[in-house]
């Protein structure tokens, strides 16, 4: 039996996606679709994503790179006449796709998002230098050298303006209670996984 316009995927989204229970409330006005700053780069703007969910297009939604185009500008949220927390739903869908391993390979924003989290999860604070170097080397070593060279002027300027600390590479910022912090995040993740049915 075809899954077309059946509620199965909608139900999954409601259970597993942050604020997913709002998807059914979209009235398809399209205001959000016209609000994304990177609008032209979305294969499916939020309005469409919501309709696709309701039309049961699980595969298409979760493999799409659309959600990864969200800049978290909250334009849509303040404009949506139905007050959908669109930004969070985009984040939530991206998270679901990532957790299921369905998100597009080599999606840069996804990589950055993971790096960012791992960076902060380690020390409790973000190490901007490691983060940026990581970003430049995400595509492998050769490309990394190229990327870093391209942005070298920026980096040096930042160092000169005392806004990037080369010493961070060897430690730098971090919180004191790291063990408590790690335990806390582990617990939170555990609860979330149970609630959202991630093994």
């Amino acid at each position: 039996m075809s899954e077309n316009y059946r509620n199965n995927f909608l139900k999954e989204v409601e259970e597993r996606v942050e604020e997913g229970h709002w998807v059914k409330m979209c009235m398809q006005c399209g205001v959000c679709a016209g609000s994304c700053p990177l609008g032209p780069h979305w294969a499916h703007p939020p309005q469409e994503i919501f309709m696709m969910i309701r039309a049961g297009k699980r595969e298409e939604v979760l493999t799409s790179d659309s959600m990864w185009m969200c800049t978290s500008c909250y334009n849509c949220v303040v404009r949506c006449p139905r007050k959908l927390p669109i930004t969070h739903i985009m984040h939530g869908l991206a998270n679901l796709a990532y957790r299921l391993g369905l998100s597009p390979k080599n999606q840069t924003t996804q990589k950055f998002a993971s790096m960012f989290w791992n960076n902060l999860a380690q020390t409790g604070r973000v190490n901007e230098l490691k983060l940026s170097l990581g970003m430049y080397f995400k595509d492998g070593f050769a490309q990394g050298i190229k990327n870093a060279m391209a942005m070298q002027s920026v980096g040096l300027g930042m160092v000169k303006a005392k806004r990037l600390n080369p010493m961070e590479l060897f430690g730098g910022h971090g919180i004191k209670d790291k063990s408590g912090f790690h335990a806390m995040l582990k617990k939170a993740r555990e609860i979330e996984d149970r609630r959202k049915n991630f093994a």
């Binding site: 990177l38 939530g92 005392k162 806004r163 919180i175 995040l185």
Partner: protein, 298 residues
């Protein structure tokens, strides 16, 4: 005793020698002039910004903010929690509201916090420094401290996204917030009207999707220039960084010749209040704000 005391959440980018080090320095100077005491939350952690979602998910993200708030409640009781970074403020306030709306989230967050020996109660407001200035002081009051009006300088007040949405300042419109312009005028400067005041700078995607984001940055600067601005002022460290740092890249990509300083309101206030260039951390600009430096020298 200081006139007003707040529990301060500087956030990662505002640490010493981090990307908005100048924001932190100038904020401290500004607070000195306004007789504000900022009590840093001991051992605060990163808010997760709005990019941690892929790996972090929902509850871990909320828990990050809950930890900061719990620490603040514990160590700085009776104060409002104040952040200077838009993302820090947003994450904190959002977590606060999510928890307030769901007993389940409260229980879950506290279960996680218990692992770090903390409890979240939810008895402090989560505010942005701009709110403190506008609501606790007000423009008239702020004006009173001006010693060196920023006369003749035309500013494009760039409010951007996250200081403005989804919460913003009470009574301001999302499409055309006025407080930054009012602040500029209170300091004696001129706020030019332009149409990209709340346009997104690309946020974290300036990093991961540079081509796409730099178009945003170009639009913002172009509109500021077109409307006669000679300097951009912003309340958000990410806005500041993106719009300032990538100007060279934008020039390369679009053949433009942008070279416009991007400053923080805290720098403006510090200079207008008679602070030195060092106090205003003007040396932290990649594109030097010469007009401000001149006034600071006077």
């Amino acid at each position: 005793m200081a006139k007003k005391t707040y529990s301060f959440y500087p956030g990662c980018s505002s640490q010493t020698k981090a990307s908005s080090d100048n924001y932190l320095k100038s904020t401290n100077s500004m607070c000195k002039y306004l007789d504000i005491e900022l009590k840093e939350i001991p051992d605060w952690n990163c808010c997760g910004a709005s990019i941690g979602y892929a790996e972090g998910g929902e509850l871990p993200r909320i828990t990050l903010s809950a930890r900061n708030m719990a620490l603040s409640e514990q160590h700085n009781p009776g104060m409002d929690l104040v952040a200077t970074c838009a993302a820090c403020w947003l994450s904190t306030r959002e977590a606060k509201e999510r928890i307030a709306h769901s007993a389940q989230t409260l229980t879950e967050a506290n279960t996680a916090l218990a692992e770090a020996g903390l409890t979240y109660k939810g008895n402090q407001a989560a505010r942005h420094m701009a709110e403190v200035l506008v609501e606790d002081f007000g423009f008239d009051e702020l004006k009173r401290g001006v010693k060196k009006p920023l006369q003749g300088i035309k500013f494009a007040g760039y409010v951007g996204c996250q200081t403005n949405r989804p919460f913003g300042l009470a009574g301001e419109s999302f499409e055309n917030p006025k407080y930054l312009d009012n602040l500029v005028e209170a300091m004696g400067g001129e706020a030019v009207p332009y149409d990209q005041k709340v346009t997104c700078c690309g946020g974290a995607l300036a990093f991961s999707e540079p081509e796409k984001s730099q178009k945003q940055i170009k639009d913002i600067i172009e509109s500021a220039y077109d409307h006669g601005a000679e300097m951009i002022v912003t309340p958000c460290p990410l806005c500041q960084a993106n719009v300032e740092i990538y100007q060279g890249e934008v020039n390369k990509r679009f053949g433009t010749k942008f070279n416009i300083p991007v400053t923080y309101y805290s720098q403006l206030i510090t200079v207008a209040y008679g602070g030195t260039a060092a106090e205003a951390a003007l040396d932290g600009q990649l594109i030097r704000a010469t007009r401000l430096e001149e006034i600071a020298k006077k």
